[in-house]
């Protein structure tokens, strides 16, 4: 199995598990997305596949120690463009790593889903940095492999081993350089909502070495059919303790298979060299652990040791105790929707002059008489068509900003329907009609301010709370330009981060949207207001329209990707449960 214990050099953090709902919560068929895809002619299967990775014989790039590898996974579109699916954690000092981080991808029968895997050696100076913030051009590229998802899934053991290739180097030499192999394992996710919460403790751990301390941590692995253990959880490292109690472990039953699935729990002594010594292990299923808890007894660890020619399991004095064991139902996104929560869709459209005169064909607001939708219309349709399924009354607040309504001053938040007392329109058609008529009734102006629109959306969402509603609001802002009031926008977003609101910003046209990416916390730091308050949640998702094209899977994934997580984080941190019928 090699070194499967990944660490951030300073952090020694826990990896795996479900904990604070960081997982992709879309497990199981998603009706709305299926419908959207079906309406596009995709009649296929829609199931979730979970990818896990291991590698062997990686190249050794560092002089004094081994490589610290990480995998970056991409999906390859029809036009060859790569889109990052995710990154694993960094495994310290190993040429044969097994990574714990897994990625979920939706499987579609009728589409060739090409995946590209790139392995990097992460430089020591970056070991404290979150993997998603790492700049790949600063790391050492070790090799690349590519596969089609259906190839992996149709193999009998659901694993495919690929040769890693370093293209530049192999073109220089006559023989291709061996860069090692990457094994990708794909498993279908069976949706499970039960999460177990456990507190594990060990007693009487043995000194591995008289002269150094024991810094123990646990690795929990599931055993799949072929007898290979796959790690699913690693606890934090506790310093210098022979009677350690680790922080609560949260494991979703789905991650281990079932409550009766055999698990291996190994206790290691952490070594900063990456070579952790095995102190002892036990083989128990979750059901066994539950029994240990209720009985209050401990289970002795054993250590396989070589006695002559055979491995003999030496039973140790050390014991594993389960101080707490409880099962909770962790509701999925769709559970909440079925249980009385609703998503409310709101849209705000940029009417600033930079869009160009709507009567001229090169304007982003040009309404083509042939019926071909412009960028704004396409963005509204692509996002609205999916979100509308979640909005029960199909009554959407719709605004425009940055324009002068007939005989009035510039407004940074006017009702698209032209009404002075209500802002809602009915259905996507309603948005389209209000949009085209607004174009005739306003004169484009500027500047591009988001503050008022966001403030208004926040107002609506907080008032809905006052009425006891269980609604979550999604504001779609479509803009052609870079925001002028960046600090005011940040202030509004920071205030809104405490409310049931998520904001999707789509950038249309050819502007350089680099500054806008600051608003998306994935690509930058947490937003800070002018008064020193910081956003408590990441509620913004920004994507340039170039990525939002009809027919590509990325339409749905890119924009909706974070939505369920944002929604669930909001619900779970406030302990809001779906109402069961």
């Amino acid at each position: 199995m090699g070194n499967c214990c990944s660490d951030e050099a300073g952090g020694r953090a826990a990896v795996g598990g479900t904990a604070a709902s960081q997982d992709n919560p879309i497990s199981g068929p998603n009706d709305a997305v299926s419908h959207f895809l079906n309406s596009r002619g995709y009649q296929g299967l829609y199931s979730q596949i979970e990818l896990s990775y291991s590698a062997s014989d990686l190249r050794d790039r560092d002089l004094l120690s081994k490589s610290d590898p990480m995998v970056v996974v991409y999906t390859k579109g029809r036009d060859g463009t790569l889109e990052e699916l995710g990154r694993t954690e960094v495994v310290l000092n190993s040429l044969n790593p097994t990574w714990i981080t897994k990625h979920t991808i939706s499987y579609q029968f009728e589409i060739v889903q090409t995946l590209v895997f790139r392995v990097y050696d992460v430089d020591t100076q970056f070991h404290n940095v979150e993997v998603k913030m790492l700049r790949l051009d600063e790391q050492q590229f070790l090799g690349e492999a590519s596969a089609v998802l259906s190839e992996i899934v149709t193999k009998s053991n659901h694993s495919l081993t690929l040769d890693l290739v370093h293209r530049e180097e192999s073109s220089r030499s006559t023989r291709p350089r061996n860069c090692g192999k990457l094994t990708v394992h794909a498993e279908e996710c069976i949706s499970s909502k039960t999460t177990t919460e456990m507190i594990l403790r060990c007693s009487d751990l043995e000194y591995k070495d008289l002269f150094s301390r024991s810094d123990p941590f646990l690795v929990i692995s599931k055993v799949v059919e072929a007898g290979i253990p796959i790690p699913v959880y690693k606890t934090e490292v506790i310093k210098n303790d022979l009677k350690p109690t680790w922080k609560t472990v949260y494991l979703n039953i789905q991650q281990v298979g079932s409550k009766e699935s055999p698990l291996v729990i190994e206790c290691f002594n952490f070594n900063s060299s990456g070579k952790h010594d095995l102190i002892g292990k036990v083989q128990k299923s979750l059901a066994d652990l539950e029994k240990l808890h209720s009985g209050g007894q401990g289970e002795n660890l054993f250590l396989p040791s070589l006695v002559g020619q055979n491995y003999h399991n030496k039973v140790l004095k050390s014991q594993l105790f389960v101080d707490k064991y409880s099962q909770n139902i962790q509701h999925t996104f769709l559970d909440y929707l079925a249980g009385g929560c609703a998503l409310n869709f709101m849209v705000a459209i940029d009417f600033t002059a930079s869009n160009g005169n709507p009567r001229l064909p090169d304007s982003l607001h040009y309404i083509d008489p042939s019926g071909r939708p412009n960028s704004y219309q396409r963005a509204i349709i692509e996002v609205g068509e999916v979100l509308q399924f979640y909005d029960s009354d199909k009554s959407f607040p719709a605004w425009g900003f940055g324009a002068r309504p007939i005989d009035g001053p510039v407004s940074h938040c006017f009702n698209l329907n032209g009404s002075s007392h209500h802002c809602e329109v009915e259905g996507i058609q309603g948005i389209m009609m209000a949009y085209t008529s607004a174009l005739l009734n306003v004169s484009l102006a500027g500047p591009t301010l988001f503050g008022p629109v966001i403030g208004n959306a926040a107002l609506i969402s907080s008032q809905s709370l006052a009425n006891g509603g269980r609604k979550y609001f999604v504001l779609l802002i479509i803009t052609d330009g870079v925001v002028t009031d960046l600090q005011e926008t940040k202030d509004a977003l920071v205030k809104a981060s405490d409310l049931p609101l998520s904001i999707l910003i789509v950038g249309v046209g050819g502007a350089d949207f680099k500054e806008m990416e600051i608003l998306d916390a994935d690509k930058g730091e947490r937003l800070e207001s002018s008064t020193g308050r910081v956003a408590s949640r990441d509620i913004v998702q920004f994507v340039p329209f170039r990525d939002v094209q009809g027919g590509e899977i990325s339409v749905v994934q890119a924009l909706l990707a974070e939505l369920p997580t944002q929604f669930l984080t909001y619900m779970r941190t406030r302990d809001i449960q779906p109402i069961s019928c």
Binding site: G10, K239, P397, W399, R404, P405, G408, P409, V410, S411, H412, C413, F414, N415, S419, S420, H421, H422, C423, E424, G451, P452, G455, N456, A458, L459, I460, S462, Q463, L465, A466, N467, G468, A492, K495, S497, D498, L499, R526, E528, T531, G532, R533, V534, A535, S536, R537, T573, R574
Partner: protein, 177 residues
């Protein structure tokens, strides 16, 4: 109108992020102190191994005077020379009182900490919930709650007033008392 001299808050001091001691990472034993300008309110236990990213998740019920406009959070650490303040943030009471959200709403708030030189030094994460006393919930005149200052700026931007249904829901709450 009740003249309540103080209101009760349930404050959970959750965690701190990237807090440093003289630009160096904190090794251990960071704790948080919450106070108003005039009096201390509560303090957390020391996080023995959290370092620069301490985690406390401690819930405390505190009373703050009615007129208080800020509560202050200080992250300190125990050094050989005593308790040293690493960073401080002032939380305006208006961030969790007033606006349209229900009074008992659980607010998750985060703030930038600054050290004694005024330099940025990490972030503090807390959650705050105003405890509604039973008698106040049944009275019609709860001060500084739902009918207070509208969230953030006024809802009237530029020309046209956006169609936000201000009328009925608020009135209903008022009469429900």
């Amino acid at each position: 109108m009740f003249s309540m001299a103080s209101s009760t808050l349930e404050i959970t001091v959750i965690s701190g992020e990237d807090i440093r001691n003289n630009r160096k990472p904190v090794k251990k034993n960071a704790f948080a102190v919450i106070r108003t300008d005039s009096q201390p309110l509560c303090r957390t236990e020391m996080d023995k191994d959290g370092g620069s990213y301490p985690y406390w998740n401690e819930k405390h019920n505190v009373e703050i005077p009615q007129h208080a406009r800020f509560i202050t959070v200080e992250v300190q650490c125990k050094t050989s020379a005593g308790d040293k303040t690493l960073g401080m943030a002032r939380i305006p009471v208006s961030d969790f009182v007033g606006g349209f959200v229900p009074q008992s709403y659980l607010h998750f708030l985060s703030y930038r900490l600054r050290n004694s030189n005024g330099e940025r030094n990490g972030i503090i994460n807390v959650s705050v919930k105003a405890k509604v006393p039973e008698y106040a919930a049944s009275s019609c005149s709860s001060t500084a709650t739902t009918i207070g200052v509208p969230f953030g700026k006024t809802s009237c931007y530029g020309g046209v007033v956006p169609g936000v249904p201000v009328g009925v829901p608020i009135m209903k709450q008022y009469y429900q008392g």
